[in-house]
C-alpha cells in the first residue's frame, strides 16, 4: 500500500511538472491561505500532489512504527526531507537545482519503499542478512543517474543530449545485469521474474522516452501542455520509477541468494 501510494505520488509529481503547474500554489503549507484551495486550473494538480504527499508521509510513519526496521525509518526521514524540499521549492522559487533534487529524492524514496517491501518478501521465505547483487546494484546506480539527467531536462537545467546518450548506457547496463541473472538463474522463478520485469520495464522506458521527446517537439508551438505530451511524459516518469524499483528488487532478491527454490 505504501509502495503504491508512493508511486501514485511520483505520478502526481509528474503531472504537476508536465502541466506546468509546479508554482500554481505559491504558499505552503497552506494553499492560498486555506486547507483546501479553489480547485481550478493547475491548482488541482499541485493540491492533489500535496494531499498524496501527506498521505505517503503518514503511511511511511505507520510503516516505520509497525516494522521498527532501520530502513523504514530511513524511508520516513527521506519522505520528510522530500516534503521539506517540496516546501522549499514553492517558497524559495528561484534555485533551479531544487526541483531536480526534489525529483531525484522522490525516486530514492520510492526505491527505499520497494527495498522494504522486497526485504520483507525475502524475510518471509528465509531469514538472511541484507546483501545486494553487484549486477543489480550497477543497474540501480545507472538508472538513478539517468533519473538525475531526466529531471535536469524536465526542469530546464540541462539539455536533452546527455539524457539520450546515457539512456543507451543505462539500457546496456540493465541488459547486462538482467541477462546475467537469466543466464545463471533461469530455473529460479523469483530471480527470473525480477530480471524479466526489469528488462521489460527498461525497454518500455526507452520507447516511452522516444514518445515523450517526439511529443514535446510536436507540441513545442502549442499554447499549453497538450494531453499527448502529458501522457507520454508522465508515463515515462512512472515507468522510470518502476524500472528503478525493479532494479532494486532484483538486486535484493538475487543478493539474498538463499531464496533459491530449485
Amino acid at each position: 500500500m505504501v509502495a503504491v501510494s508512493t508511486l501514485l505520488l511520483v505520478i502526481a509529481g509528474g503531472l504537476v511538472t508536465s502541466n506546468d503547474a509546479a508554482q500554481s500554489v505559491p504558499d505552503c503549507p497552506l494553499s492560498y491561505g486555506k486547507l483546501v484551495p479553489p480547485l481550478e486550473g493547475g491548482i488541482r494538480f499541485e493540491f492533489a500532489h500535496r494531499v498524496l504527499a501527506a498521505t505517503v508521509t503518514i503511511l511511511t510513519l505507520i510503516l516505520a512504527l509497525w516494522s521498527r526496521s532501520r530502513l523504514a525509518w530511513v524511508a520516513f526521514a527521506a519522505v520528510v526531507a522530500q516534503a521539506l524540499l517540496g516546501g522549499a521549492v514553492v517558497t524559495l522559487v528561484a534555485p533551479k537545482w531544487m526541483p531536480v533534487a526534489h525529483a531525484c529524492l522522490a525516486q530514492l524514496v520510492f526505491g527505499l519503499i520497494v527495498a522494504i517491501v522486497v526485504r520483507q518478501y525475502c524475510a518471509r521465505r528465509k531469514r538472511v542478512e541484507m546483501s545486494l547483487d553487484p549486477a543489480g546494484t550497477s543497474a540501480c546506480a545507472t538508472l538513478f543517474v539517468q533519473t538525475i539527467l531526466g529531471a535536469a531536462v524536465r526542469h530546464n537545467v540541462a539539455g536533452i543530449v546527455p539524457h539520450i546518450v546515457f539512456a543507451a548506457v543505462a539500457t546496456l547496463v540493465v541488459m547486462w545485469a538482467g541477462v546475467q541473472v537469466l543466464m545463471h538463474h533461469m530455473e529460479n522463478p523469483p530471480f527470473r521474474r525480477s530480471a524479466i520485469l526489469l528488462l521489460s520495464l527498461t525497454f518500455s522506458q526507452v520507447f516511452l522516452g522516444m514518445g515523450a521527446y517526439m511529443s514535446r517537439i510536436l507540441a513545442a508551438d502549442d499554447p499549453q501542455p497538450m494531453p499527448i505530451m502529458i501522457s507520454f511524459t508522465v508515463a515515462h516518469v512512472a515507468v522510470g520509477s518502476l524500472a528503478f524499483g525493479a532494479a532494486i528488487a532484483m538486486a535484493i532478491i538475487v543478493g539474498h541468494g538463499g531464496m533459491t527454490v530449485a
Partner: protein, 262 residues
C-alpha cells in the same frame, strides 16, 4: 520507543520550518547596486525638444501565420470570458498592414554613461479574460509595474528572469493590485501563470527610457535621444532579435525599420 518519538518530533519541527509562507523575497522590490535610481537626484531626462527621434515599423515577411485557439476548459470562468469568440494565442500577431504587434524595440548600446530618471507612473499588466493584457510591456529598471487581476478567478504571477530576482505571488479575484519592480536591465523577462499555462507575457526592463512596444499599426517611436551612434534592437517573442546601427544628431528625425521573416 523513546527514539521513535524523538524522531517524530524532530520531523514535525523540520516540516514546520520548511514551509514558511509564500511571500516573495523582499529583494525583488528593492533596487540593487547598479540599478537606475528611482527618480530624483542627478538622473537625466530625455530631451524631447533637442534630442533625436527614431521612428519605424516592424514588418512581417512571409505567410501570415494563423493563431492557435486556446483551450481554456480547465477553468470555466476563463471559458465564459471568451464565450463570444475563442481566445487566440498572441505570440505572433500580424496586423492588417503586414506589421508585427508586440515587438519590443530598444536602444541596446551607445548611450552616454549616465543614469536616467525613472518615470513615476506605473505600467499596468492586467490579467483579463485569463490573458495578460498587454502581451508585452516595457519598463525602466526600478519603474513600478501595476499587476491587476480583473478576472473573477485566481491567478499567480510568476516572472522568470535570469538576472533579476524571480518571484511568484498569488492574486485572488478582487484583491488589491500588486506593485512590483525589477532592479536590473533584462530583455526580456517571461511571465507566466502556472494555474493557466497558456497565460504568457514578456516584460522588457531597460536602464534608460529609450524603448517602445509596437501596437496595432506595428510602428514605434523613440524620442529625445542624445546625438550619437546607437545599436537599436527589435525583439520578437517568436522570431528573436534584429540589430541595426543608426547615427543621429540633435533634433534629427530618422526612420529605422525592421523586418522579421516568418
Amino acid at each position: 520507543m523513546k527514539k521513535i518519538w524523538i524522531g517524530f518530533g524532530l520531523a514535525c519541527v523540520l516540516s514546520l520550518a520548511g514551509c514558511g509562507g509564500g511571500n516573495p523575497p523582499e529583494t525583488a522590490k528593492k533596487a540593487e547596486p547598479g540599478a537606475a535610481p528611482a527618480g530624483g537626484g542627478a538622473a537625466a531626462m530625455p530631451d524631447e525638444a533637442n534630442g533625436a527621434t527614431i521612428t519605424g515599423k516592424v514588418t512581417f515577411d512571409g505567410t501570415k501565420p494563423k493563431g492557435k485557439t486556446i483551450d481554456m476548459s480547465a477553468n470555466p470562468v476563463c471559458t465564459k470570458a471568451h464565450a463570444t469568440a475563442p481566445a487566440m494565442t498572441e505570440d505572433v500577431v500580424v496586423n492588417d498592414n503586414g506589421t508585427l504587434k508586440y515587438a519590443f524595440v530598444w536602444i541596446k548600446s551607445g548611450l552616454p554613461d549616465q543614469t536616467w530618471q525613472v518615470p513615476t507612473t506605473a505600467v499596468t499588466l492586467d490579467q483579463n479574460g485569463c490573458m495578460y493584457k498587454p502581451h508585452v510591456i516595457g519598463v525602466m529598471a526600478g519603474q513600478q509595474i501595476d499587476v491587476k487581476n480583473s478576472d473573477p478567478t485566481n491567478h499567480n504571477i510568476h516572472p522568470q528572469p535570469q538576472t533579476n530576482q524571480e518571484w511568484n505571488e498569488s492574486q485572488p479575484p478582487g484583491s488589491a493590485d500588486k506593485m512590483q519592480t525589477f532592479a536590473r536591465q533584462e530583455v526580456m523577462i517571461p511571465v507566466k501563470c502556472n494555474i493557466h499555462p497558456w497565460m504568457r507575457s514578456y516584460i522588457g526592463v531597460v536602464s534608460h527610457p529609450f524603448f517602445a512596444v509596437t501596437g496595432d499599426d506595428g510602428t514605434f517611436t523613440i524620442k529625445g535621444l542624445p546625438p550619437g551612434t546607437y545599436t537599436i534592437e527589435a525583439w520578437h517573442e517568436k522570431y528573436g532579435t534584429s540589430d541595426q546601427t543608426i547615427t543621429v544628431g540633435a533634433k534629427d528625425s530618422k526612420t529605422q525599420d525592421f523586418s522579421f521573416k516568418g
